[in-house]
């Protein structure tokens, strides 16, 4: 059957337990009389289809909740992932400080060119805030990662964040493909890490065709 989409991006939600990763992916609220079978089992991942500049892009978004107790995310989760949402809770100082540890964990386990974005979640709980927006922005500048405050509860900026991350992945990929097809970019002598990546069975680059 013909492929009905242009790109497929695997994305991960990462951060301390309790920062609201699951509520970014899952927003069912149940009433007192009924229990949702789905919420009892929990969501593993979602597939979403978005339009990016006329391209049909499939996002496969994984929740890593329940894995945090190992303090690292298993390499299986990182395999093939092209984008990572680093989530902290603005009402929890510790979860903010741990973002640096999560970044280190990503550097050790994920593909070197994985796109990242920092989300300061629960920004609706302003009275309990422990981490100012400015500190979030500062951290993002330090690591040269994009940043936005979100409220999964109010659906604030969540969709924006996924579009932004997906757009950045697509831009990076198109740039790489352009470089690959036009090697006269004057980068002689510079060994690019992609040489190592070639050993991996399928790189994410080869799974996405930009026509």
């Amino acid at each position: 059957m013909a492929k009905t989409y242009d790109c497929l991006f695997k994305l991960l939600l990462i951060g301390d337990s309790g920062v609201g990763k699951t509520s970014i992916l899952f927003r069912f609220s149940e009433d007192a009389f009924n229990i949702s079978f789905i919420s009892t089992i929990g969501i593993d991942f979602k597939i979403r289809t978005i339009d990016l500049d006329g391209k049909k892009v499939k996002l496969q978004i994984w929740d890593t909740a329940g894995q945090e107790r190992f303090r690292t995310i298993t390499t299986a989760y990182y395999r093939g992932s092209m984008g990572i949402m680093l989530v902290y809770d603005v009402t929890n100082e510790k979860s903010f400080e741990n973002i640096k540890n999560w970044i280190r964990n990503i550097e050790e386990n994920a593909s070197a060119d994985v796109e990242k974005m920092i989300l300061g979640n629960k920004c609706d709980l302003d009275s309990q805030r422990q981490v100012s927006k400015e500190r979030g922005e500062q951290l993002a500048i330090e690591y040269q990662i994009k940043f936005v405050e979100t409220s999964a509860k109010d659906s604030l900026n969540v969709e924006y964040a996924f579009y932004t991350l997906a757009r950045d992945i697509k831009a990076k990929m198109e740039k790489k493909q352009k470089e690959a097809s036009n090697p006269s970019g004057g980068r002689s002598g510079v060994h690019k890490p992609t040489l190592n990546d070639a050993r991996k069975p399928v790189t994410w680059l080869s799974r996405c065709s930009v026509l």
Binding site: A32, F33, I41, D44, F45, K46, I47, K58, Q60
Partner: protein, 128 residues
């Protein structure tokens, strides 16, 4: 004789409205929020009996999962065919499918052995 001539079950009559060439003629959406689950003509109609847990489980019933038998499905071979869908964690070689926007479900199931998915037609709506 008359019975023979009118040998078309209600299910078959209904089928004509949403199945064409064995495929879903119309867009498949969530019953509750309208989220687009499948594009038109992207899955195959299949008649098979399968028990699925009810979308709402009575909370006074401890532990026992209440099921209902579903007889008609849309068969999706590749999970990336879905427009928007949620997959639950695995229970006995199955993942259950849920709406990606409002999390209603199960709207079907995914077999982790064959990696094929099945959408319960009685739990979705069709639209043009």
């Amino acid at each position: 004789m008359a019975e023979m001539e009118n040998d078309v079950s209600p299910i078959e009559t209904e089928q004509r409205e949403y199945v064409e060439d064995g495929k879903n003629k119309l867009v498949v959406q969530c019953k509750f929020c309208g989220s687009k689950i499948l594009d038109k003509k992207s899955s195959n109609y299949i008649a098979q009996e399968k028990d699925l847990p009810l979308m709402q489980q009575a909370s006074n019933n401890d532990r026992e999962v209440q099921n209902e038998t579903i007889k008609e499905f849309y068969h999706v071979e590749n999970m990336y065919t879905f427009e928007n869908i949620g997959f639950t964690h695995t229970v006995d070689n199955h993942k259950y499918l849920s709406c990606a926007d409002c999390d209603a479900g199960p709207v079907g199931y995914h077999d982790t052995n064959t990696r094929h998915s099945y959408v319960a037609i009685s739990r979705i709506v069709h639209s043009k």
